[in-house]
């Protein structure tokens, strides 16, 4: 898959989706008309940083600091951003 974002790009949640922490499910969820996707912890960490202000590089730096023992974090993040873009959850910001 061609990466959807380069290091200087700024990903942002798409207008048609809302990201929210749900206490009852102890996870981030994506909300859209009459539906919901429950995110795994890694996806939630990444998407919650797609705020239309931070660059991909900044998001990666931030997560590398938070999870210093995780291997291949950069690749995982780039992959997930491409998947999220494919799903139309995120777009190129700022919005």
């Amino acid at each position: 898959m061609t990466p959807a974002f380069g290091p200087d790009d700024v990903p942002a949640m798409a207008r048609t989706f809302r990201l929210q922490w749900e206490e009852a499910q102890a996870s981030y969820v994506i909300l859209y008309p009459e539906g919901m996707v429950k995110l795994n912890p890694a996806a939630g960490e990444i998407l919650s940083r797609c705020d239309g202000e931070r660059t991909v590089s900044a998001i990666i730096d931030d997560l590398e600091q938070k999870f210093p023992d995780t291997d291949a974090l950069r690749d995982d993040i780039m992959n997930f951003l491409s998947i999220a873009y494919e799903q139309q959850w995120i777009q190129h910001g700022p919005t």
């Binding site: 929210q20 499910q25 909300l31 008309p33 009459e34 539906g35 919901m36 996707v37």
Partner: protein
């Protein structure tokens, strides 16, 4: 309601939470669609819940994990406190859905809803042609709906357009899809008529033929591919033509909670007509008690209530035995397997009914449509219809 959220998280069977709260704010409606999901006894409804009642319902359900809130009816725009209710719901963290005909809407209200934090507006159309739309709705609403759909997009809402499909508009699926696309809908819901309440009363007139259904399905699937990434097209085959039952509401008391205009709570749109159940009212009980402890919400939870063939069926955790209301309406016992299931001993009877319906069309003996209005509801209650 429609189930366009295919990814809703699975409930924990031991401690299910209501994820979906449907607030039927009123039964008043300027339209008279003959497939309305409201019960046929709408004329019997008592006093509507007031603003504070609804706010309490929203708070209590939200505390239990409900996250999607639908404002529905009747026509929810009839309620003058709608803006206030949306604001309260949004502030509680709900994703707020307004499910409307668009009649009673104008730009001032669309703007006020946005300010209140409304997330999404779903507008129902009756057809893609003015003539059929206005015939089914029994009013002159088509052009207004179109104007409202354009404004909804202009104000930056995600937009779902919903068309209920039946015998009279199934052949226009292609025109419907193109019409929705021209209005820049984000989602198009091609909702199959479900035969409960008013639609059951009009089943003979509304049930499409298998041939119609198959053609519509092929068109819908072709456009799902063609419009991928532009407009999501949701299409479900009418279950009378299926042989596996639908996982109705993801199980009784699984994720869905409906509160009707007078505060009666239900696990689906139709369950109010099931005999032997006294669904609790939010005026008397907390949402927590209703959802977790009330006998009615536990009646068909899990699989202890099941009879054969469901009891030992390997698919019982997938489809929950289908729909309790359909089982009751078509077999006389809500604990039977949904007769849509080919394993049901009543499956053949259902197929024969369908054949008879089509034969009555061929023979020209179809009775007139009973439109959904208070007058007809009273006539049904008095036994006249």
């Amino acid at each position: 309601m429609s189930n366009s959220g295919s990814n809703t998280a699975q409930p924990n069977p031991h401690r299910p939470n209501p994820h979906w709260l449907l607030a039927e704010l009123t039964y008043k409606c300027p339209l008279q669609c003959p497939y309305c999901s409201n019960p046929v006894d709408i004329a019997r409804v008592g006093q509507e819940l007031n603003t504070d009642d609804w706010k309490r319902v929203f708070r209590e359900a939200r505390a239990m994990g409900a996250v999607q809130l639908g404002f529905s009816g009747g026509e929810p725009l009839v309620r003058e406190d709608l803006e206030e209710l949306i604001a309260e719901a949004r502030q509680l963290g709900y994703y707020t859905n307004l499910i409307t005909s668009g009649v009673g809407m104008d730009e001032r209200r669309i703007r006020a809803f946005k300010q209140a934090g409304l997330d999404h507006i779903q507008i129902s159309f009756q057809a893609s042609s003015e003539e059929i739309n206005n015939h089914i709705a029994r009013n002159d609403s088509f052009q207004h709906k179109q104007a409202m759909a354009k404004l909804v997009k202009q104000h930056g809402y995600p937009m779902v357009l919903c068309f209920v499909l039946h015998r009279q508009n199934t052949d226009q699926v292609e025109e419907i899809i193109q019409f929705a696309h021209s209005l820049e809908a984000d989602y198009l819901e091609l909702a199959t008529t479900q035969y409960y309440g008013w639609a059951l009363k009009n089943r003979e007139q509304l049930l499409p033929t298998l041939d119609q259904v198959q053609r519509a399905e092929a068109v819908a699937h072709a456009y799902q591919e063609k419009l991928r990434g532009k407009m999501r097209v949701l299409y479900v085959v009418p279950d009378y033509y299926e042989d596996r039952p639908k996982p109705c509401m993801r199980g009784w008391g699984g994720i869905f909670l409906l509160v009707n205009p007078e505060g009666v709570t239900l696990p689906c749109h139709a369950a109010g007509m099931l005999p032997g159940l006294e669904f609790p009212n939010v005026r008397d009980h907390s949402i927590e008690w209703i959802w977790r402890d009330s006998p009615d919400f536990n009646k068909f939870r899990g699989d202890a209530w099941m009879k054969e063939p469901c009891r030992t069926c390997p698919e019982r955790e997938k489809d929950f035995g289908g729909c309790r209301c359909q089982a009751y309406l078509l077999t006389g016992d809500a604990a039977n397997a949904d007769p849509v299931c080919s394993k049901s001993p009543h499956h053949e009877t259902l197929q024969q009914r369908v054949t008879r319906i089509h034969a009555s069309h061929a023979g020209g003996t179809v009775s007139p449509i009973v439109f959904r209005n208070m007058r007809n509801s009273k006539r049904i209650l008095s036994g006249e219809l």
